[in-house]
Symmetry: C2
Subunit: 447 residues, 2 copies
């Protein structure tokens, strides 16, 4: 079987470009309208994409004066999307730093049941101070957040396993609903959590909802190598993409995992036109709508350095890149400015499309060329597609880039599975509490 | 305008009777099937009911060996229900003891946006030890739980108010998305919580999603008088119902509220037949399916006293009723056994239908008579309808009891509002951060 691309549609308000809300092809009044997001997911499903993804944070960050922020909470939204779609995966960000594992295990189990096995969890540790201040604490250190996240994952996966797959008997005649010998208290006692269990939901259809992650720090990459099954990442050049890909895949063996048990999905913001000129025109329209004050605030958020309007037409000042937290994104931004010799204003324009993710403007063939080059060049198992404007940019991708990828034999024509794991080509984990099955015993004997 | 009944459909798995899952008219395999619940809500909406309600706890309690437990998480489920209904209110239980106010404010704001103003929150403080043990703590004392709940409500309502209604400008031409002077950090600093805010969601369509509560202890009733707009309660006799109703309404003035700002909705489990004989037959079918071991476990949960099978055919032993926590439910159970001179087996049968809520078996006219008597007799503003089997018992109520109530002029023929507040006849709260509007200034001048 030929290796096939995996494509995720990253849905964000009315588009990933920071000026999307000002563009005549968007409707910013719809950022809290569930039908807008249902429509986006249906467009993505029309294109046979693997999944949609909703990012999240638990604070109002960014400057809402100049951008359409403050939409819907991802899990309630994905549940509403589940009911109008049949195949597409549904991935949401939830933080391990400001939540309890029992709630998170349960909500994703519930979404997995509601969607028939299409739930995925993008695990984040919440790097911002604004989030900490909504939960009465100072932001925990990077390493502490990852230590908590590691134990959090242990608890959540135990809870998902706490009902074996065949725990429900449903024997009305004898009045036996469940075999309680197959429903297990987890009795977790750790440094951060004490959780007795079991979960009050039966085992999710996927066993474990898909685990997704996006950290690029050392801790982040080790966490991904241990737990993640798909990784979203921002990479600007093919070489950087290849390096990240090889690095991450090489870390899997230490956790007893094969390279194909984790998919690497770099971000790409495709600015699509039927001619190169048309694509450049859309790019320029968006660029002209950028509000410098907003771009400066975003740049400050990514780099940790405050910059005023007087800095706009000068090169980026020297910025140390060894600080913890948003370090990897900071390094990417500084490298980009240095490599291409950009002024702050030019850098803002380059970041406006995808906050550090790669922006490619051109015809559908040109976008497909880039995707193919990365996919075949050892930099990607697929892409996290970040349309600059929504829904238009996603519809353009689905209607013009996807067919090109299909003709090239790189992407599916039809779904072959109803679950997210099945679509991503990943195995369904067994419950750790289940006795060894016959298949495994056979393997053990054969081995 | 004539006073009209308010009716809530309390949805629980395949029915409120503890043996419902064994009855041939139910399908227990559907307790984690979203379409089952969507269908229930659509039946309730066909009957023009005010709202549906999903109870919740954050532990697997009750004996899953003998009952169909472990369904879906209410907020993800209600969001999926919102998309297939247009008018009916959507109420979910969420605990203030094991959650953070920022998350709760946001999820209900999101559900309110998704449903176009139909979200309601049933506030509980989580009395069980099983729940505490899923969050690494011992169960906090009753008074401590209510103290936390009180501050929790303060934070959540501040967060819902943190965006004024007209904060969003959407001015593309000038690049002004929001008037940040109308989006307020809440800067809450209290005994239990420090929350900076603002919420990362715009103001919910209802201002505040509806606040519902069900505690019957002294603390519970004071909490209800201060915050709740609808109260679910278990009352066995008209006299007890009248006493509770008068007591609760009399407490409102101390919080500057009018009696009609809180609706009292006693529970009723209607066992409906087209003749009395048919109704008694359904009641008996269900009674015969009761598993004594399950009933004993439920009784132990309600009273805090362990009872063995040898106790089944004796009177209920003496049980002290002054313990905290589930005190009010315990008192109700003990009073019921004493009043009617029941053995433990008979008590279990009486509790099996509604866990202490009133069960009424009979024709639609007889059910309507009871409802009318309580409604006109100062014991209820409406009812929390708890069908013994689902969906059948709800369909019977909607198709046969509701028309009878309509003919008697007690219940609406059509919805008159798209929001839950509107349907319940309750006002939309203004943001506490908004300047006094013209209307209020006029009232102030006129007064």
């Amino acid at each position: 079987m030929t290796r096939k691309l995996h494509l995720n549609a990253f849905l964000m308000g009315v588009g990933h470009h920071e000026a999307a809300w000002r563009h005549p092809r968007t409707e910013p009044a719809r950022i809290a309208d569930v039908r807008h997001y249902q429509n986006l997911a249906q467009i993505a499903e029309r294109g046979k994409l693997d999944s949609v993804f909703l990012a999240d944070g638990v604070a109002l960050w960014g400057n809402v004066r100049h951008n359409a922020l403050g939409g819907l909470e991802p899990l309630t939204l994905l549940s509403a999307i589940a009911t109008v779609t049949d195949h597409i995966g549904l991935i949401a960000t939830v933080s391990t730093t400001y939540n309890e594992p029992y709630h998170v295990a349960r909500k994703f189990a519930s979404l997995d049941h509601i969607s028939g096995g299409r739930a995925g969890w993008n695990i984040v540790t919440s790097a911002s101070e604004a989030e900490a201040h909504n939960f009465g604490v100072e932001r925990p250190a990077h390493a502490d957040r990852y230590a908590r996240a590691t134990e959090f994952l242990d608890v959540v996966t135990k809870l998902w396993d706490s009902w074996e797959d065949d725990a429900i008997l449903g024997d009305r005649a004898h009045g036996l609903y469940a075999d309680t010998g197959k429903i297990h208290p987890i009795e977790h006692e750790g440094e951060h959590f004490r959780v007795r269990g079991p979960l009050n939901a039966s085992r999710p259809p996927q066993g474990h909802p898909l685990l997704v992650q996006a950290g690029s720090s050392e801790d982040g990459k080790e966490f991904a190598a241990r737990f993640a099954e798909a990784v979203f990442t921002a990479q600007q050049t093919l070489e950087e993409g290849q390096e990240f890909y090889a690095d991450l895949k090489s870390r899997l063996a230490a956790y007893g995992r094969r390279p194909d048990e984790l998919l690497v999905l770099p971000g790409i913001s495709p600015i699509i036109g039927s001619t190169d000129r048309e694509a450049r025109q859309l790019e320029q329209e968006l660029e002209e709508l950028i509000i410098p004050a907003y771009g400066l605030a975003q740049l400050s958020h990514m780099t940790g350095i405050e910059l005023g309007e007087d800095a706009l037409d000068r090169p980026l000042p020297d910025i140390p890149v060894e600080t913890e937290g948003a370090q990897s994104r900071r390094k990417l931004v500084v490298d980009l400015a240095r490599r291409d010799g950009l002024t702050v204003r030019q850098l803002i324009a380059r970041l406006a499309g995808g906050r550090g993710h790669r922006v490619v403007a051109g015809t559908p063939e040109r976008i497909a060329d880039e995707i193919q080059e990365w996919f075949e060049g050892g930099a990607a198992d697929g892409f996290n597609v970040m349309p600059p404007i929504l829904p238009g940019g996603l519809a353009d991708f689905v209607d013009h880039v996807v067919p090109e990828l299909q003709v090239r034999g790189l992407f599916r024509y039809e779904y072959e599975s109803r679950t997210l794991r099945g679509t991503y080509g990943l195995a369904r984990p067994r419950s750790r509490y289940a006795p060894q099955g016959e298949a495994e015993l056979e393997v053990a004997v054969a081995g």
